[in-house]
């Protein structure tokens, strides 16, 4: 039996501005290693909110989140940062890169922070990642000087640099044209099939979702099907 890498237990999330509003209701699910899971649901049903909680960036919720067998409850900012750095790779809808740094530096950044390998090793890993995503020719360019599709591939390379336990994506193709969306989807499928990378991707694209191992469907803050 494959071990659980992610587990949630009755997660409730409220927003209090402007009025108290429960956005997540008793969300409980789990994910096994090497699983490729997609999350679908109408806009505003709480997908992003859930993902921010799962990625440990949002700590204001009720319930329990267990990553790699460890509860995230009561962990300090420092400890959560470490978890994000080591175990989670995040790909955003908008291509968030550090515009002052080169593509290579962007990819290396989480690796340098983790400091598990020397800077040289991190650099060669980063170049390998860029190569496998077909963008190694951009390594020296400034992150602000490349196209949207390329940026998203760089973001994926960055998410992969520390060999994370899980890659999370919040509509990673939501801001890309059709051709680039296909490229990004292909990359995810390839990662799942070839390297057994665990993936949790929020998407609107039913084609894409139907090709994943499991679909989690959300409606109004609840998981209605998984």
């Amino acid at each position: 039996m494959e071990k659980l890498i992610l587990e949630t237990n009755k997660i409730n999330k409220y927003f209090h501005d402007p009025v108290t509003n429960q956005v997540l209701k008793e969300v409980s699910f789990s994910m096994k290693q090497r699983e490729f899971v997609s999350v679908v649901g109408k806009s505003g049903c709480g997908k992003s909110t859930l993902l921010y909680i799962l990625s440990t960036m949002d700590t204001e919720y009720e319930g329990d989140l267990i990553l790699d067998g460890v509860s995230m409850q009561g962990k300090s900012d420092e400890e959560l940062s470490r978890v994000r750095n080591e175990k989670i790779g995040f790909v955003f809808q908008f291509h968030y890169l550090l515009p002052e740094f080169s593509v290579l530096q962007n990819v290396m950044m989480p690796g340098l922070k983790l400091a598990k390998h020397s800077a040289q090793e991190v650099e060669s890993n980063a170049i390998d990642r860029l190569k496998s995503l077909g963008i190694d020719h951009l390594a020296a360019k400034r992150a602000s000087q490349i196209s949207g599709g390329e940026k998203q591939r760089v973001a994926i390379a960055r998410a992969l640099i520390n060999n994370p336990l899980i890659i999370m994506g919040d509509e990673p193709t939501g801001n890309l044209d059709h051709k680039n969306s296909d490229i990004v989807f292909d990359i995810f499928h390839q990662l799942a099939e070839e390297t057994g990378q665990s993936l949790l991707i929020v998407t609107h694209d039913h084609d894409f979702a139907s090709r994943t191992d499991r679909i989690i469907e959300m409606d109004d803050g609840r998981i209605v099907n998984h």
Partner: protein
Amino acid sequence: MQWHLIFNISKTLLLARLRQSVIAAVGVTFGITMFITLVSFMTGLNKLLDGLILNRTPHIRLYNEIKPSENQPVNLSLDYADHINMIRSVKPKERPLEIYNSQAIMRSLKEDDRVLGVAPKITAQVFFNVGAIDLNGIINGIDVLVEDQLFYFGDYVTKGNLRDLQTVNNSIILGKGAAEKMLVDIGDVIQVTTARGERLSLKVVGIFQLGIADVDNVQSYASIQTTQKLLGESNNYITDIHIKLKNLDLAPAMAPEYKKLYGTDAIDLQTFNAQFETGTSIRNIITYAVSITLLIVAGFGIYNILNMMIYEKMDSIAILKATGFSGKDVKWIFISISLIIGISGGTFGLIFGYIFSSIINQIPFETAALPTVKTFPINFNVFYYLIGIVFALITTYVAGFFPAKKASQVDPVEIIRGK
């Protein structure tokens, strides 16, 4: 903490905003330059002005003052001990100005390790006879070598040679004002009459200028021997003992000790010249106040640029946090930016401060009052450069701290969701 990584991120963010960063650093440079220049100049001036008083003033002076006895006989009598004794019109007793046993006192003083040196002195009231007019004057009998060594008298002899006072018999060094009044110059002979009517001819071997008109118009110097001869006194006769200490601050405590020990009057520099410290501390206060003001202004410059940078870099901060940098890491990234600005601005400040004070040190500054000074005085002291850089670091750290704290508290979810 991975300082190397944090420093590199700071450097990159800083270089991306090079122009604003340079402007912020120039603010610091300006503040530190002003501080170094001001403090070097002000303390230079302080030293000069203090020297004007300190060089020529003994730390403790032993002498006999003409004054009424403190204990009148009736107070000493046991019969009247429990009475209230009122005595009117007490007059000073005749008491010789001479210090008894001066040789023994001087020997004992020289053995005290707190004492740097001891100079004997005789003060004699005289008249300088110029034609039909008699001018009031004072002749100070000095031990020429000791006086020069302890009180740098040679520096103030602007014409002639101090050593001649010792080698030429019956010689005198006149104050500049007195010499001008008498229309005499080196080599001329003047007539002197003492208060008791004795007359002597003295040869002028030098002219001194302290820069204090009261002194230059009235005072003059002769050797101890010449003065003793003039007064018709024995060669033990001394009216003052001037003491220079190794540590000036001990003087107020030591004066009463000597007074009791030697049975003379004793006065310390601090009591004698109470205003001496006031000017110094006021000039110091001005210097530090101006410099701190400038640095606070520079600090606001840094505070502004950092706030602006953080506002612009919200996305970057969110990404850093999302990919594993902690709030503390982010805080130190921005504090480092501030410190880099502070250190580079401060270092240039020290360099420019040094250059400016060197330039000031070359500007001619000649005044009749200060014969030994040719240019503006500057006190080059490494200590002020240390204070300067510490100032720069503290200001930039404080200016950087609050924006950095704000950056560390940025909620990445809010930024990422906000797009």
